[in-house]
Amino acid sequence: MLEKRFGYRLDVLALIAVIVVVTLISRLGYLQVVQGKYYGNLADGNRIRLIPIMAPRGIFYDRNGVALVSNRPGFTISLVPISGPIQEEVINKLSGILGMSIDEIKTKVNNQAGVFEPIRIKTDVGQDVVTRIEEHRAELPGVVIEIQPIRNYVNNELGAHLFGYVSEINDVELAASKDKGYRSGDIIGKFGLEKVYDQDIRGVDGGRQVEVDVTGRPIQELGKKDPQPGNNLMMTIDYRIQKAAEMAIDEQLQVLQTKLGRRNAKAAAAVVMNPKTGEILAMVSRPAFNPNLFAGGISTKDWKTINDNPFNPMDNKAISGMYPPGSTFKIITGTAALELGKVTPEEKILDTGKHWIIPKGNDAGEALGWIDFKVAMAKSDNVYFYEMGNRLGIDNLENYARMFGLGDYTGINLPGEADGLVANRRYKEKVYGEDWYLSETFDAAIGQGFQLVTPLQVAMVMSEIANGGHRYRPYLISKITAPSGEPIKLFGAEEVGNVKISDRTLTLIREALSDVTHEGGTAGAVFNDFPITIAGKTGTAENPHGDDHAWFACYAPYDDPQVVVVVVVEQGGYGTEASAPIAKKILEAAFNINQPPTENAKTNYPNSAL
């Protein structure tokens, strides 16, 4: 046992315990009670600003890894609210430097009143503005220059309708998606893939915790949380084909307007897809817009230019434009007639220039005499297909159109798709309160009258002929990957429906479509020298408001269909003349024919530092 003379030492130990606890409680008292208010303010944000650091959005790559949408650094001018209201003087000065009206700045400030976060006044300002603000630092308390990632659409207009654009979240959107973690001032996708995949590609913003003095100037940084970049999108788009399609359309519109007298040929759309999977290889809509204009907040002038254009640059006409399918619909009429035994491939019908029941005829009034199915298709004879309509009746036509997927959304992963219209009795009854007339069946059989389709739907029909009746959901994204490259979501072919067509009928239709692009066919002149056999159909859709809309739809190669191309030129006139040449150039790019040897896929490396 311990000797008694050391017993007091345990009391000393106990005393030390008392001292330790008293010291600690005193320290807590000092921090929490005496200085509690100070630290409370620090934590509450009276003197601490949380300056968000925007996460860079995910990068869009084409199917070969070419970056199409990335980010670049830009300067943003913000106001950090100081203890009192923001001084009038500061706003006046800022208005001069930024070239914004005082009211515009005040609106932004008022929208965010009461929040201790910086108010973004102007994004993506130039170096000159930054320099001027730096020079006047002393007179601009609370003005902060931040570096933020700005969305960069590498090729400007190219693919604009696919990518969409981003801009600041508005009140309506904020109210609708607050529970998804969106905050005021956030940059969100407003259109196209930017909108559809916003949640996937937006990343997670970080922030800097900064202590500011009474004038709102940051004194010191207290904490920092790095932003997490968004996920990347691997697109099914082929940059080479997309570029070729855009250039071909632009050139052709130019030719049509200046050389062929189609003054109003200013809008067009094209779809290129893989008939075996539904992958979209290219999609174009004209007129287009430059999404870069929106990235830093679009100017009133630019917005007015876009808004005043009567051809609606913001519409993706490939999926939302509804046109009468014209003669491209003859594929459906023909399939229905053959499948239902209303006609045999061998039967010949006499075209005297006009149908014998209702005197409707061919466009130019020509008479082709006794013709069978293949000739009628190759030469796009109206009288023959009026008769097919006559034999089928509107209900059978409607049925087959729906089986091919017309009148319904294709389900592509883009916003704003239109469903089109299949001519039918109920529609007429509902809208006009009238019975159905035979002449309307005639119109329907050649894709006129009530029939309305989108270019994408026509591409679906063409794909079904090419692949034997399978309807695959068209899609634009093959893979979503984390910034590390690790795949997060994979997308593939998804069959959403099918149309049963006998092999005999399929073969006949395919042969007839091949005849279209050969000597004697409606598009023979365009494709007679083409090294790959293709199957296609022209269409010229009547337009009561101006020149006819020009269609051309095809797939290639004939034996082993790999691409489907559909082109429509609004008010372009004849399909052969206006649209087929565009399709030809697209096919050349797709199969690497007549390509300039220097034309390599331009590789844009992603701006991954942001």
Partner: protein
């Protein structure tokens, strides 16, 4: 089975205080970690800590069946195991924050330096048992210092400055109570102070920074001073009544890192306020007071020294950990006893509590 007499002699104050502290810690760990965890695993840390607490209760209960006296028999073996273990860390250990401290065994990463604290206490108690009252000359004192010095240097080499300092606290607490000549103790203290500059020279840069930065955290607010600033803001902003459980804003954007391990007291301060934090400190005082009491009532010298070592260790941990979160002690990576998340530390501390119970339970000499 334990006899009724032994059970009656259990120190229920220690048991209750320990249980309350562990329960509070589970709630606080939940509060500190739930925000940063994905929803399915929201309470992963709490479940894990709770599970190990239950397992430790069983272990402690089993250990109560054996007289603590038998620990003396294994003292030398434990001492050897300790040295091997500390050397093993150097070769197979995993680094965390620039220091090799972990050994991975299956799903559990063990921190040998935590266990070495308790081994240190047992082996030193065994050594001093025979030397009590005979620590009057340097010739008698120096072997004790060598005995502690070897594991001390091994821990320092890891480098684990915190644990090394805990060794010193244990050493001084025990030799003080063992009756070291106070003049010699004073001389050793002076010599230690004189050697400080040399010791300083051997520290790693980040250790030097940690030791100095708490005097003025703002010299490096995003580096070494970061924890201290954030922790002080957390505690201070708790004010008198706290922000309520799960209401700590400092955790929101994860501005206070390590908030479930070394900095758990900052969360207590922020969410429970001055009143709550003081109550927690008073619970610790009760525990410390009782453990010193156990030392005083131990039936033999070995038991007294064991309890003294444990008291010294707990006291030092409390002072340095809470002091660190409150900005009056440097950041050294010393956990808060019984409360910080961590399997190794929790096990060590609960075994210590078990030993205290064991000593107190057997305080009366058995009369035949």
């Amino acid at each position: 089975m334990l006899s009724r007499r032994l059970l009656k002699n259990l120190d229920f104050t220690i048991i209750i205080v320990t249980a309350v502290l562990i329960l509070i810690s589970l709630v606080i760990i939940g509060s500190a970690t739930h925000i940063n965890n994905p929803s399915q695993e929201r309470y992963w840390f709490v479940e894990r800590q709770g599970m190990f607490a239950l397992a430790n209760i069983v272990i402690v209960f089993i250990l109560l069946h054996f007289d603590y006296k038998s620990l003396g028999k294994y003292a030398n073996l434990l001492y050897a195991v300790n040295l091997i273990m500390l050397m093993a860390v150097m070769f197979v250990g995993q680094s965390a924050l620039g220091a090799q401290r972990w050994i991975q065994i299956g799903p559990i990463s063990l921190q040998p330096s935590e266990f070495s604290k308790i081994i240190m206490i047992i082996s030193l108690a065994h050594m001093l048992d025979k030397r009590s009252g005979k620590l009057n000359t340097f010739k008698e004192i120096i072997p004790v210092f060598i005995y502690v010095g070897v594991p001390f240097l091994l821990v320092l080499k890891q480098p684990d400055l915190g644990t090394a300092l805990v060794f010193l606290a244990i050493l001084f607490g025990m030799i003080f109570v063992a009756g070291i000549n106070l003049k010699h103790l004073g001389a050793i203290g002076l010599a230690g102070a004189a050697l400080m500059p040399i010791f300083w020279h051997f520290l790693k840069d980040y250790q030097k920074k940690r030791l100095t930065v708490f005097l003025d955290p703002n010299i490096d607010p995003l580096g070494s001073g970061y924890h201290i600033i954030q922790s002080k803001i957390a505690i201070g902003s708790g004010m008198l009544f706290g922000k309520g459980l799960f209401g700590g804003t400092q955790s929101q954007l994860n501005f206070l890192p390590e908030n479930h391990t070394d900095f758990i007291f900052a969360v207590i301060g922020e969410e429970l306020g001055f009143i709550g934090a003081s109550i927690v400190l008073l619970l610790y005082f009760l525990l410390l007071y009782r453990s010193v009491k156990v030392a005083g009532e131990a039936r033999d010298n070995f038991g007294m020294l064991l309890a003294t070592g444990i008291s010294s260790m707990l006291m030092f941990h409390l002072l340095v950990n809470v002091g660190m979160t409150a900005g009056i002690m440097p950041v050294t990576g010393i956990p808060l006893p019984l409360m910080s998340y961590g399997v190794s530390a929790l096990t060590t501390n609960m075994v210590c509590i078990g030993i205290l119970l064991n000593i107190y339970m057997r305080r009366q000499k058995i009369m035949f």
